[in-house]
Each structure stands twice: as structure tokens, then as C-alpha cells.
């Protein structure tokens, strides 16, 4: 039951038993969210800092609600309006925040490896909320929770991650997590958005979206990250939509019973049509709801973890 890992930096080195514990514990927290009073006193007296060096709507609000619903005290830090603009280094910023006695740090940063570095310069429990194009473990865990809740299992399922694999931290965490849980993972997208050596991770590459729909139980559709220069990878978003966008016609042409996930925010009419983004196959908003429960489970398991190194 007790997690082997002290921090949640990524899913690459997290054991399947840890993933299992997090998903199972999240079931209890989902129940808390359905009660009249959506709050438990479990993390009373713990302080959590949400250290966000990058923009975020879902992840940040989700973490903040998860912390509040566990009765932890939470503080939000965002780069704009902080002393970072006065030239304070990352290390100094963290040391100063930690001097105010915090227990856990949830970090999002544009550079890969920042959460790892944080564990070296601080004594707090570190949770990665997205580091560059590396990993976004809590998103992958909530994706896995949502799939398991809907289809009853993960083992043996065929899951295809569609779109901008090269710029996606969600893709990498999903690949590690799903494979650990015994799912078969493939990726689909234009060659320019698929890393050349992705096959080394044991992932099948599909370049035809129709094939991806036919062969899989679940499609996890990623956002085309226009802000990360994905725009250069294909001629136009209209062309991308034409060849890789999920549309009603395309779903009807192939098989219908495929589950659609999207981590948000959605580019309507690019990776998914507006009709499908609100349609019956998708569980996009359920993913968001589950996100709070999964993050509560992670905060609980890491925040109350006992051990000589804690």
C-alpha cells in the first residue's frame, strides 16, 4: 500500500504496484467528491506550494482543489508577479519558499528535469505537474484512472496516443504508465511529430488515423501545441485536421466503440472536431473530474508516507 517512491517525478521509474495503489486510492477520493461536503481533514497542518513557471488552467486548479479538499494549506506561485522578474534564480526562489516551512512542492516548469533538480536542493516532497517536453505523470495517471473506470481494466487494452507526440509530456508519461500496467501502446501522427526513436520504447507507430481507430480500444488525442512550434511540422492546421483530426464521419467510417480522451485544452476543429469533442465517445470532462480525485490520492499517499527518509 505505501508507495515505494518518495516523490512523483515521472512514471518512467514508478512501479506498477505504486501506480495500482494510486489508482485504487483515487476511487475513495472520487467518492469524497460526490458527497455534500467534499472535504476531509487528512492533510491538516501540511503546507503545499504550487510552483508554476508555466501557464496552466486545469492542472493548477485541479491541484489547488485537491489540496484544499484534503485540508492542506496551499500557496500559489506564478512567475508573473514574482521576484523572478527581478532576476532571482530558481534555486534562490525555492530556498526562500522552503525557508517558510513547506512540506510539499508541486512544480511545473518549461525545462525538463526541474522536478528532479528540486529534490536535490530541497527537503520537500516533489510532485511533477509537467516539466518541458519530458513528463506529466499526474495527467497520465488520471488518463489511466478514467480508462480503467470506463472499461474496467488496463491490462491487455490497446491504447493509441494521437497527434503531437514529439512535443508532448503527456504522451511520454502515458507510454510509461500504460506499459507498466500491461496495456499495448501505439502512437499515431504525421512523421514530423513522431520522435524518430520512439520504437525503442516498445511503441508501435501508425501513420494512418483510420488504422489507429480500427485497431485500438482507446484513443488519447493530444493537443497540437502551436506554442511549441509544432506549426512548422505540417503545412496548415486545416491540413492536419483533414488527415489526423477526429471527426464524426471518420468515426462512423471505422468502428464506433472507441473511447476518446483528450487532456485539454482542446483546439476545436484541429485535432478533434467540435462535434466529437462534445460527443458520446469522449470522456474529456470526466477526465477533469477524475483529475482532482487522482491528485488527492497522490497528495495523500506522498504526504502521509512514513519512512526513515521522510
Amino acid at each position: 500500500m505505501q508507495l515505494k517512491t518518495k516523490h512523483l517525478l515521472g512514471l518512467e521509474n514508478v512501479s506498477s504496484s505504486d501506480i495500482q495503489s494510486i489508482l485504487d486510492t483515487a476511487v475513495s477520493f472520487k467518492q469524497v467528491l460526490e458527497r455534500p461536503i467534499k472535504k476531509v481533514p487528512t492533510l491538516q497542518g501540511k503546507t503545499v506550494v504550487n510552483l508554476f513557471y508555466e501557464n496552466s488552467t486545469r492542472t493548477r486548479i485541479s491541484f489547488e482543489l485537491a489540496e484544499k479538499r484534503l485540508s492542506a494549506d496551499s500557496v500559489n506561485f506564478s512567475v508573473s508577479g514574482s521576484s523572478v522578474s527581478k532576476g532571482e534564480t530558481f534555486k534562490d526562489t525555492v530556498r526562500n519558499i522552503e525557508a517558510m516551512k513547506v512540506d510539499m512542492i508541486v512544480v511545473r516548469h518549461g525545462s525538463a528535469g526541474v522536478p528532479q533538480y528540486l529534490t536535490k536542493i530541497s527537503d520537500s516532497v516533489v510532485i511533477n505537474a509537467g516539466d518541458g517536453i519530458h513528463e506529466h505523470p499526474t495527467q497520465a495517471l488520471l488518463d489511466m484512472y478514467s480508462i480503467r473506470e470506463k472499461l474496467g481494466k488496463l491490462e491487455g487494452l490497446k491504447v493509441c496516443i494521437v497527434g503531437d507526440i514529439a512535443h508532448s509530456r503527456v504522451a511520454l508519461s502515458n507510454i510509461f504508465g500504460l506499459q507498466a500496467m500491461g496495456a499495448e501502446v501505439s502512437v499515431c501522427g504525421p512523421a514530423t511529430l513522431i520522435p524518430r526513436n520512439i520504437g525503442d520504447l516498445g511503441v508501435k507507430v501508425i501513420h494512418n488515423i483510420d488504422e489507429a481507430i480500427q485497431e485500438n480500444d482507446v484513443l488519447n488525442i493530444l493537443r497540437i501545441q502551436l506554442e511549441r512550434k509544432a506549426r512548422a511540422a505540417f503545412p496548415s492546421t486545416r491540413e492536419y485536421h483533414k488527415y489526423y483530426g477526429i471527426t464524426k464521419e471518420r468515426m462512423e467510417k471505422n468502428k464506433k466503440d472507441v473511447l476518446l480522451l483528450h487532456p485539454g485544452p482542446i483546439n476545436r476543429g484541429v485535432e478533434i472536431s467540435s462535434e466529437m469533442a462534445d460527443g458520446e465517445h469522449q470522456i474529456i470532462l470526466e477526465q477533469v473530474t477524475n483529475g482532482v480525485a487522482v491528485r488527492m490520492a497522490i497528495l495523500y499517499l506522498l504526504g502521509t508516507r512514513q519512512g526513515e527518509d521522510n
Partner: protein, 178 residues
Amino acid sequence: MNIKAKILDQEALLRIITRMSHEIIEKNKGPENLIIMGLRTRGEYLATRLRDKILSIENVDVPLGILDVTLYRDDFRTRLKQPEVSVSNITFDITDKNIVLVDDVLYTGRTIRSALCAIMDFGRPATIKLCCLVDRGHRQLPIKADIIGKNIPTSINEEVRVKLLEHDGEDAVYLVEV
């Protein structure tokens, strides 16, 4: 751990459960508006038995709830092992109902304190009564049971072990030294 005495055998245990069922109905003046709520783990099985007994006595199927109080515990900082969270199962509204909270052993009273806090987050019951199979004393909080199966005076270094068929393969209560 060594067993000092077998305090109740199956026959005695079943008689106590029957008596407690009657007491619940008596104290509630009938089975109306009543909810039986068992605390995980063994309280759940006791509660199920009490519910079944009330069904056979009064022919009324009283709603049965199961409460997991892990998230409300006060010993996260002092315990050596992280407690496992489980799911509560309360599928009905508890507002204005009379709840009978069922647990196996009443000791410090801290579990019951957690349970009271947990129940309040599900709604606002009219009353809560506490029903325990064994009261072993040594309370640390001002909590007392309304219905007690058996009072067993103990010393601090003794423990009461309740065994139930559904969970442990036998019906018995033991006094052990740890």
C-alpha cells in the same frame, strides 16, 4: 502475542447479537427511520448481522451503511504504517435519520471520534447511537456506547481480538497479551 482467555464462543456471541438487535429496536422505539452503519472492517460484518436480525424480528429491512474513517484519523503523524484508504458505502441520504454506529471493540474512543466527523460530512442525522460488541475501557475521549455487547475490563498491555466468521473463519472473542 499469547492468548490469555477465550471470552466468548460462537453461541455466546450470537446471543449477544440477538440481544443487541432487540436493544437497537427498543431504543429507537421501532425500526422506523433507522440506519445501521458499520465501521470497516469488523463493524461492517456486525452491522450486517444486526440488520439481518432486525429483519427477522421486525420484518423491516433497515438501510445498511459502511463507513471507512481512514481519512479522518488523528494519528497520521505518529503511526509507523500508512493506513490503507477504503471506500465508504452510504447510498442513501442520512439527514434526519437515526443512525446506529456499529464497531467491534470500543477502546480509546478515537475511531468513534473520526466516525462522528465522517458522518457529519455525509449529512445531518437526527441522532447517532453507538453500539459496540466489546467495551474494554481506557477511553481517551468523552465517548460512551449506548449499547454494549460485553464489558471486558482489561489492562493496557492486553488486547481484545474479535473474530468473525465472515472475515476470520470463526466466531469468538479472545483476550490476548501483546
